[in-house]
């Protein structure tokens, strides 16, 4: 039997078990189109063969793996609130005005249509997520409400985070700050869907620490007229980590800005795929992703900008810069541009380089050790991608520690 066949067989058993354990979502699980899981190679899974994920998707957590370490990043207490990703045991009285959070089964979402907005062809692992779903979370910000405290999603809880589904809906004119933190000790398979209504704004910070467990996630975002999505995404590698971001600017005047850092070391593998689709007119997208790979790690990035017919006056930019720290780290980067409208501005660029010898000598000639000079240059390389706020400073310190700088 092939890995896929074994996987499908085992998956069917799990779905039956779950039917007893979590009957509320049985209908949803049964809607998973497992036949759509590809058997062969997929271009979008070139560096993370999808079949290798099948092998690990059903792995039982090792004893002790359920002991979840403390989340490394904290927001000042008064400025945030936490809701469980499972959607269970939410203290609704603690939620800010205008925000509701419900378990997937309790929400008013039409579960039959749950996957309708997702690009399951490019990311077929949605079907696995659907088949194994136990529970999930639906967050909704009511029209016109600006929620000041930050909504924190801690994707650390071993069991519930393993296969989670989170849907965040911003109704027209609303605003939310979202901090998504991953700190996992089990294999994880997640889907985060974000729907941004007209004139809404979401500030989203995502931190994914290093982990010895594989993790893959689809973050799918739709922007309606004049919606604004700011994403600061920090990913450290794992075994392997795969992150797909599908951002679709369907409305006119929608605005997407991504700043990202991707770091891998030792034997880490990290594969990040960003697809930006401009559908509406006067859309704007800005992406800057800087990566550093060392050791025997493999860092892959694919940034695709697709401008649909009629998406006139689109202004789309993508920059991906990478540093290879020693000769054995592998970096793959591929920017892609597909344009079907004639009045647009687009620019994309990707580079892979090494630490500049002149810069290194300059620092060393001032007494700074080779190691400290390299760390300083790497920090400088990432500086443009850090948010200018207290969370950004914390993240900067964590990254410094990763790079062996003074914070280490």
């Amino acid at each position: 039997m092939t890995a896929r066949e074994l996987f499908l067989e085992e998956l069917a058993t799990r779905v039956q078990t779950l039917a007893v354990q979590a009957p509320a979502l049985a209908l949803l699980r049964n809607s998973a189109e497992l036949d759509e899981l590809p058997a062969g190679k997929l271009e979008s899974f070139k560096y993370t063969p999808i079949e290798s994920l099948y092998d690990t998707a059903l792995a039982d957590p090792e004893p002790g793996a359920m002991d979840v370490p403390d989340a490394p990043l904290r927001i000042a207490d008064a400025d945030h609130f936490v809701v469980p990703v499972s959607g269970i045991d939410i203290d609704t009285s603690a939620l800010p005005a205008g925000l509701s959070a419900l378990g997937l089964a309790e929400s008013t979402l039409d579960l039959k249509e749950l996957n309708a907005g997702l690009d399951v062809v490019r990311y077929p692992l949605v079907h696995v997520n659907t088949a194994l779903i136990r529970d999930g979370l639906v967050v909704r910000v009511a029209a016109g409400h600006r929620v000041t405290p930050t909504l924190q999603l801690n994707l650390t809880s071993a069991e519930t985070a393993t296969c989670s589904r989170v849907v965040i809906i911003l109704e027209p004119g609303s605003e939310l700050r979202l901090f998504e933190q991953h700190h996992q000790s089990v294999v994880a398979n997640r889907v985060l869907e974000i729907r941004l209504g007209a004139d809404s704004t979401l500030h989203h910070t995502r931190w994914q620490g290093r982990s010895d467990c594989s993790a893959w996630q689809l973050t799918s975002v739709v922007l309606e007229d004049n919606a604004c999505y700011r994403l600061d995404a920090f990913s450290l590698g794992g075994a392997p980590h795969r992150n797909d971001f599908h951002v679709r600017l369907t409305g006119n005047g929608a605005d997407f800005e991504l700043k990202g850092v991707q770091l891998t070391r030792d034997a880490d593998k990290l594969d990040q795929q960003v697809v930006v689709e401009h559908v509406g007119q006067h859309g704007r997208s800005r992406q800057r992703i800087h990566g550093i790979a060392s050791g025997k790690s493999r860092l892959s990035f694919n940034g695709r900008i697709h401008i649909h017919p009629g998406a006139q006056h689109t202004d789309a930019r993508l920059t991906n810069r990478n540093l290879q720290i020693d000769g054995s780290a592998q970096i793959n980067t591929k920017p892609e541009l597909e344009i079907y409208a004639d009045d647009v501005q687009c620019a994309h660029g990707a580079t892979v380089g090494q630490i500049d010898a002149e810069q290194l000598f300059y620092l060393r000639s001032r007494g700074i050790s080779d190691a400290a000079a390299r760390a300083l240059l790497m920090q400088g390389f990432l500086a443009d991608c850090l948010p200018d706020n207290s969370l950004g400073q914390q993240i900067g310190r964590l990254l410094d520690a990763e790079l062996g700088g003074p914070g280490a």
């Binding site: 002149e358 300059y362 001032r366 007494g367 700074i368 920090q379 990432l382 003074p406």
Partner: protein
């Protein structure tokens, strides 16, 4: 006064090509030496090999700093011993703030000397005060290292580093190039401020005009990898008058 720098029969290769073909030079405490010479004579090579630039290999001869053989030492070790090179083309390092860079440099010196690094706030105050003496706006300390600085600002930033690191031997590689008269005077004041009985200065320059402001004790003319003539300040003036053709011809 004992020697700060002693160079004997130094031969240096860069990319397999012999650039310095036997240089002898001694610099004692309190002295200012100027190395002059036509383009391509090896002036910058001499300063860079003393600083330890990778790719500059000593194929014969020796370089001693006080009693210490420098040749095998890493550039950061030379710097901590008290060797400083002001770059001809200071390097831009976007994303690393000038202040962060200066503090890291000074801290590395303290660590090597076994002394306590300066308190951050005290250091910032000190750096701002020194920057002010060089007409360098304190805002430059917050910006990326040399990022978007004009030519003159970069050179003044080099002098700022020199004054903060307090080396024993300061080598200035064409620090005067690209400076207008006002900037040259400011830079010269910085160098003169640095001069003392315990320090030494090596000026690498193509023109003699900096020497009007920083008066050298000795002037050496380097031609084709060799010092062909040494003298006092009047040699620089004579060179200005008669051009390098004069020494090249008499050397041949």
């Amino acid at each position: 006064m004992s020697n700060i720098l002693t160079i004997e029969a130094l031969q240096v290769e860069v990319a397999g090509k012999l650039i310095l073909k036997g240089v002898d030079l001694q610099i004692r405490g309190g002295e200012v030496h100027a190395i002059m010479g036509p383009n391509g004579s090896g002036k910058s090579t001499l300063a860079n090999v003393i600083a330890g630039r990778p790719g500059y290999s000593v194929s014969a001869g020796s370089i001693h700093f006080k009693d210490q053989d420098l040749v095998e030492l890493d550039p950061e070790v030379r710097a901590r011993l008290g060797v400083f090179l002001a770059f001809q083309h200071p390097i831009e390092i976007p994303g690393v703030s000038n202040m962060e860079f200066l503090k890291a440099a000074v801290d590395s010196h303290c660590k090597a000397a076994g002394t306590e690094p300066p308190d951050s706030m005290e250091f910032i105050k000190h750096a701002r005060a020194v920057a002010a003496t060089l007409d360098l706006n304190p805002d430059f300390l917050k910006r990326g290292v040399n990022e978007g600085f004009s030519g003159g600002e970069k050179k003044r930033n080099e002098i700022l580093q020199m004054l903060l690191l307090e080396p024993t031997l300061a080598m200035l590689d064409e620090t005067d190039s690209g400076l207008d008269i006002d900037a040259m005077q400011t830079v010269a004041e910085g160098i003169n401020q640095f001069r003392s009985a315990d320090t030494a200065v090596l000026l690498v320059t193509h023109y003699q005009r900096l020497l009007n402001y920083v008066v050298p004790d000795f002037v050496h003319v380097l031609v084709d990898g060799r010092i062909v003539r040494s003298g006092d300040r009047s040699l620089a003036l004579e060179l200005e008058e008669r051009g390098y053709g004069w020494v090249t011809a008499t050397a041949a």
